[in-house]
């Protein structure tokens, strides 16, 4: 039987890592639902992966480009969606006292 018990994942702790504040109701619902999902993904433990490399053979190669100045988004346009801005900078609450 897969272990679907809801204490497999400490949702409060993980949500804090993800900078996500949850209500007590959300925490309880997610605790149960994610316990079910983790129970489901447990089936991967059955697969023999001892001979498999982690990366396989990706088509991707490192592509370098010339280090040239090219046109980019003007500052005003880059800042246009900012919730708060001042003096060409994004404004956020004070980080260091």
């Amino acid at each position: 039987m897969p272990d679907t018990s809801s204490d497999r994942i400490d949702v409060t702790y993980v949500a804090d890592l993800a900078r996500l504040r949850l209500s007590p109701e959300e925490t309880a619902v997610f605790q149960k639902q994610l316990g079910d999902v983790l129970g489901y993904v447990d089936q991967l433990a059955q697969v023999d992966v001892s001979h498999v490399s982690l990366l396989g053979d990706a088509d991707l190669k490192n592509r370098l480009r010339a280090d040239e100045v090219r046109p980019s988004l003007p500052v005003a346009e880059a800042l246009a969606n900012a919730p708060r801005q001042d003096n060409n900078l994004f404004v956020v609450p004070k980080i260091i006292d």
């Binding site: 996500l20 959300e26 999902v37 498999v52 969606n81």
Partner: protein, 479 residues
Amino acid sequence: MDITSLTILELRQKLAAGALRPREIVDQLADRVTAVDSKLKAYLHLDLDKSRAEADAANITLPLGGIPIAVKDVINVKGAPCTCASKILQGYTAPYDATVIRKLREAGAVLFGRTNMDEFAMGSSTENSSWGVTRNPWDLDRIPGGSSGGSAAAVAGHEAFAALGTDTGGSIRQPAALCSCVGLKPTYGRVSRYGLVAFASSLDQIGVFTKTVEEAALLLEIIAGYDPLDNTSIDRPVPKYTAALGRGVRGLRLGVPKEYFVDGMDPEVEKAIRTAIDEYKKQGAEIVEISLPHTQYAVAVYYIIATAECSANLARFDGVRYGKRAQNPKDILDMYGRTRAEGFGAEVKRRIILGTYVLSSGYYDAYYNRAQKVRQLIGEDFRLAFEKCDALLTPTSPTPAFKIGERTADPLQMYLADIFTIAVNLAGICGVSIPCGFTSNKLPIGLQIIGPKWGEETMLRVAHAFEQATPWHKEKPPL
């Protein structure tokens, strides 16, 4: 004359003959939206003045000159909103065009409307949109599929001639199947993702919804190709996909993977797929039974890799540079935590938490690394299968469209809706869903044709051969 039922190719003929002007196309499409979108809710945003201005300026000698194209609300179009159906991007205005949008413009297309979706493309029903549910044109009590449900419903409901969508685990093919239109997911790297809001970067791919296979081939020709702005796009020539059509399937070997006919599959879906396989046999294709032994692990692998990648990609939504910010934050952590709490919906939060968990210290090896290895085995299954055949035939979805609300309380059940589409993304190969019949209560059924990496030409040829011999793509929903 109602032109909304026409294909892009038919519109081009009329434009070239002077029987139609681009402005009339936009006007008729706008009338159709007025008539049906209060029922379907496929569109989130329309800027008809802008679409009309683009139509008036259109050069009809270009491949898509004067043809309106709808765009899923996850792709940046300069000056337009791009909310990803999320409250966290409410009020955001895209500062630049995605590469696919630039290419559409260069081909003469008129941009028409932003289509609804599951928030950040996370879902299989479009019920996770923050702006309301899109409805299935064939039965308004049912979901259109997802996450590109708005694009699928718009094309199937004839309120778009074609639409862009994105497919991370089936988000183009599954809604195309459930709404009865063509939905194409290209090979990973075929189409630039520059300007697409990222969900799971190793899986996401932009593709198209159309009424017919030929239109899908035409659009792919236009949007495909290497882009220096997306280093995951691959520098390979773009074939003339439309030239691959019309050659029939005689002599082709088409594989039927036995793992795609599972218990719990809707019997009417299975019957329609078996009938489609017989049609190919009749047309002279050789049908080969094959096995993809790691199929059963695909959903589990996906929900580790996709959530891991989304937890990293969505870290950028923090209230600093764009989008929503929580009011009166006490400090920066309070700002992050509340901005994200207020901005994201339940499914996005669930996936961020799951993804953060599988990447966290102590669990990384057991979940993420193991899933990456099983992913290699899934890719190897396909590689071996394509040594024996040219394309694969499978159902797109195990069931027809389900009722709105039926699966929202049980995320795992919702995740299993993508059981036949997810492995294609994990392997980075291509797939297309085409209409292949209806259930007894007139719900669409989709046939998925899967091709190897860069196998779009053969895949589209196979799709076209079936379409030309069957009536399903001509049926119109009762709206």
